[in-house]
Each structure stands twice: as structure tokens, then as C-alpha cells.
């Protein structure tokens, strides 16, 4: 008993000493300090309601949890890092909205109830928004539908989407056929799209995104790019961790 108490005290002390000025998590997740150290270290963090994580509070389908992250109330967002504390692979995406609104829609696989967070980097400070999502769970350790049916390779890389052009921005929504295997299902190694880049006809980068294993099978993503002089066509290029390349074009 005494030993347990000592261990507990030491643990608390360690956590406190690591977390020096780290603000305490409004959601009270025990993983917050570890998450900060894993993904946000290097810049101080503040919790900021202007970074919105929008989703239903209960994940109806743990394989496809729809989320919209919106930090457009902040200016000059360099990067958005999105992660779920309690997922076996917490990191979901890193988004660099070079010439785009700092907002992103995606779907991901959730393994158990967890905070989902978006951290927006502005002038060397992480502004963090969070939301608890409850679920019956099991999204990361179930084989993808394409694996179970066995036909995923027939459609690999097939991309569908549409562009909605507004005055200042263009919304692009797209779906890329890909199993997005997490590597957590026995006998199926990790296999997922890693990078997508969007640019205009003058080769000017609009945005770049790094995806990770928790993104859903057949990733369905939504972006809002700023209109540029040369953005009458928006191009996409990307690759998965096996070297397969993906391309798409979105005309006005």
C-alpha cells in the first residue's frame, strides 16, 4: 500500500513538473500532457474556443466519424494538428492551409470514447479546441470493408469529388478509394495515404495535408481554398506509404 502511494505521488509530481505552464485540460483527459509532448511540444499551448471541433457527441459509426475543424476565426494559421487522445494511433492529420481557410472536414476511425482535438499554430502558440466523442468503439481494429470484400485493389486511387466556387474561396470535397489500413488488424500491414497537396495552375501551393492511419477507409475530405488568379483549375497530387501516387483536378 505504501509503495502504491509513493508511486502515485511520484507520478503526480512527474506530470506536474513536465507540464510546467501547460494549461489544464477542460475535458480532464489524463492523456493531455502526453499528447502535448507528442504532437505540440516546442510551442506553448492555450485552450481557445475559437478553434471549433464540430461533431455529433456520439459516434454512430465508429469506422466513419464525421468531424469538421474550423479555426477561421483566427488569422495566420500556419498549421492544424488533429488528434484523438485515446486512439491507439492518436494522430489523425496535419493540415497546412498555405492559401486556404484553416478549416477541414474529414471522417476518422475511433477506437473508444475520446477527446478529439484540433491545435492551430498561430505566431508560435498552439490554440487548442476539443470535443468529447463517445462511442461503442472498435473502429481501428476492424478490417476495412474493402479488405473483407477483397475488391479494394480494383478501385485503389479512384477519386471522386466536386468543386463549389464562391467569390473569395472555392470549396472542394473529394473521396479517394483507399483501404487506409491501420496495421492494427492481424495480418494486414499499415497502408494509408500520407500526403496530399493542392495547387493552382501557376504551381502555387494552396494547401498541403498529411494524413495518418485513423482517417476513414476511402477518405472523404473537404477543403476551402482561397481563389487565386490562376486557380481556375485546382490540382491535387499525393501518395500513400507504399508509393502509389494519386492525382485529381477540379475545374471551376
Amino acid at each position: 500500500m505504501k509503495r502504491i502511494l509513493i508511486v502515485l505521488c511520484t507520478l503526480t509530481f512527474c506530470t506536474l513538473s513536465v507540464a510546467d505552464d501547460l494549461p489544464s485540460d477542460p475535458l480532464g483527459s489524463v492523456q493531455w500532457n502526453d499528447m502535448y509532448n507528442a504532437f505540440l511540444k516546442g510551442h506553448p499551448a492555450v485552450f481557445d474556443k475559437r478553434v471549433k471541433v464540430l461533431a455529433a457527441g456520439y459516434a454512430e459509426d465508429p469506422m466513419n466519424v464525421p468531424v469538421t475543424v474550423d479555426a477561421s476565426e483566427l488569422e495566420n494559421v500556419e498549421q492544424l494538428v488533429i488528434f484523438a487522445d485515446f486512439n491507439p494511433i492518436p494522430l489523425i492529420a496535419k493540415y497546412y492551409p498555405t492559401d486556404a481557410k484553416p478549416s477541414l472536414s474529414f471522417r476518422f476511425k475511433i477506437q473508444q470514447a475520446s477527446p478529439v482535438r484540433a491545435a492551430a499554430l498561430v505566431d508560435g502558440v498552439w490554440h487548442v479546441g476539443s470535443l468529447w466523442i463517445n462511442t461503442a468503439g472498435g473502429g481501428c481494429t476492424v478490417a476495412s470493408v474493402g479488405r473483407m470484400v477483397g475488391d479494394w485493389s480494383d478501385y485503389l486511387g479512384d477519386t471522386y469529388g466536386k468543386r463549389w466556387s464562391g467569390k473569395k474561396t472555392s470549396r472542394v470535397r473529394l473521396l479517394i478509394h483507399h483501404p487506409m489500413d491501420t496495421g492494427l488488424v492481424e495480418g494486414i500491414p499499415e497502408f494509408y495515404i500520407q500526403d496530399l497537396e493542392f495547387f493552382d495552375e501557376a504551381d502555387h501551393e494552396l494547401a498541403r495535408i498529411e494524413l495518418f492511419e485513423p482517417i476513414n477507409e476511402n477518405p472523404t475530405l473537404g477543403f476551402e481554398f482561397n481563389n487565386t488568379e490562376a486557380s481556375s483549375v485546382i490540382f491535387m497530387m499525393g501518395a500513400d506509404n507504399n508509393g502509389n501516387e494519386f492525382e485529381a483536378r477540379f475545374a471551376q
Binding site: M1, A55, E60, N64, P66, A136, G161, K162, R173, T220
Partner: protein, 313 residues
Amino acid sequence: MNILKRLVLFAVVLAMATFAVQAGNFDYQLQAQKVAKDTYVFVGKTEDFSFENGGNIVNTGFIVTTAGVIVIDTGPSLRYGKQMKSAIASVTDKSINRVYLTHHHPDHFLGNLAFEGTPIYALSTTAENIKNEGAGFADNLYLMVGDWMRGTDSFQPTKIAKAGRVLLGGHDIEILSYSGHTSGDMAILDNTTGVLFSGDLIFHKRTLTTPHANIDKWLATIDSLNKLPFKVLVPGHGPISRDKTALSGMSSYLRWLDKTLEKAAKKGLSMTETMRLDLPQSFASNSLLKQEFSRSVVHLFPSYESRVFKRVN
């Protein structure tokens, strides 16, 4: 040290005692409500699954015939099925002749185990669906309602029901085979009493659910139900009625859902944006509107999206 140990022990014992008191009280309070001659319904709450209601969110029922009792759906758990049996026994001393399952959703069939030894009838699609999804449903309900589920297992129907008439103990029963809420939806019309058990083809004053729905088929099914000569309607969820307003309510919500999702996909909304749309006041009297609409977006939106998206590579 010893004091600490004792304190911990005391806390554990206290927790166990509290738990034991609660565990002794898993009573669904089933009251058979008579809706017509020989016909009774156990009316569930119009809520979502919770630890408080133990999954009693569903209407089940029974018909007392001279050849025995016909049970319609077995509820969400083994405890429910058992309590249903004793509630039936307090109404009639006739034995149970058979069970009909309206469809494969967990709140309608997970009480099956309580009726082991009695013929349990389901449409072939329903039997197939239970085989594929039943165990997963049971796991999920353990998480959602907890110990109410103790001893519950997905138990297969033992007989395949075919559409058509069954004359049983003075009742002229019509087994109707439809789809729309799921791929296999049974409705039961008792021509002798005019009672229609619609299963989840009809939700009344409670927003419908769509995890396996096909809106077009569902609308066609409701048109068919509308032509049936029933006098009393027992919906899968919500209050019993004696007219057809529940049917028109269903059709108008389904049509609105279809239009809304189509429009949202065409406008380029994401799922989360669609979930946050304002919902019409006319549906506000149905319970769980916002919650069920949001679930329906998850179930149905990808198919609307795929009709809007074009090949871009």
C-alpha cells in the same frame, strides 16, 4: 496503514452493497395494455437506450388465441423476455404457441432466449440479418444499458415465416413481408380484430431510425400499409393509434429527409454541417428529432454525396 486498508475495504464493500441493491431491481415494470379483443401490448418509452430504461424503448405484444398465445417481438434482453413471459402468464393461462419477430434490430429480438423451445418465426432476410449482425448488436447493447443485459445472447429464430395467411385458434392472421426500415420487415395484421402490428415500419411521435433504411422502399411500403383495413395500429415505437395519421407523419418525414440530404449534398455541405441544419417545427413533436436526424445523416449521407461527386482523376 491498517486504517487505510480498512477504509479501502469499507469503500469496496459499500460499492458492492449499493450495486447489489440496484441489481436486484432490474424490473421493466411490464404492464399488458389491452388494445382489442384478445390483443395486448407492452408499450415502451419513446427514448433512446439508457442505463435507466434498460432498453425498454420498444412496443412488443401478444394475441391470445384458443390454440395458444402468439408473441410479437421479444424485446431488448433476456430479462425483458422473461418478464414478458410472466406478464403474459398473469393475463392468460394459455401456453405460448409461437413467436414472430418483426425485424432484426436488437430491441426487437434479443429477448429470444427466454422463448427457447417455442417456435420463433422470422422472415428469411431477418434470420440472415440476425446471423450476421446479432452478436454485434448484443455487444453494443451491453455497453448502452449495462447489467440489464445479463445472460442475453443473440439467439437465432427457429422457423422461417412466409408471407400469407395463418389461421390459428380462431384468429385469421396475415403475415406481411415488406422492406424499407431494414431489408426484411414483417408486419402482422389480425383480420379477426383489425389490429396491425407494424414493427418499426411505423414510428409514432418518435423520430424514425435509419441504420438499415432504404427511403424509397420504405415510402412504397407505407403506401401499401395505408391500403390495409386495420382499425388499431401498434407501431414499433410510440403510442397506439386508431387512425392513419401516424402513416402520413412517417411519409412526410421520410420525404423531407430525402430532399434535405439531397439538397445538402448538392450544396457541398459536409456531414457535420448537414447535422447542424435547422429542423422544421412540424416534426418537433416527435421525440429525439435532433439526435435521430444526426444519426440518419451518418447512415444515409454518403449515398447522396456519391450522386453529386464526379470522377476527378
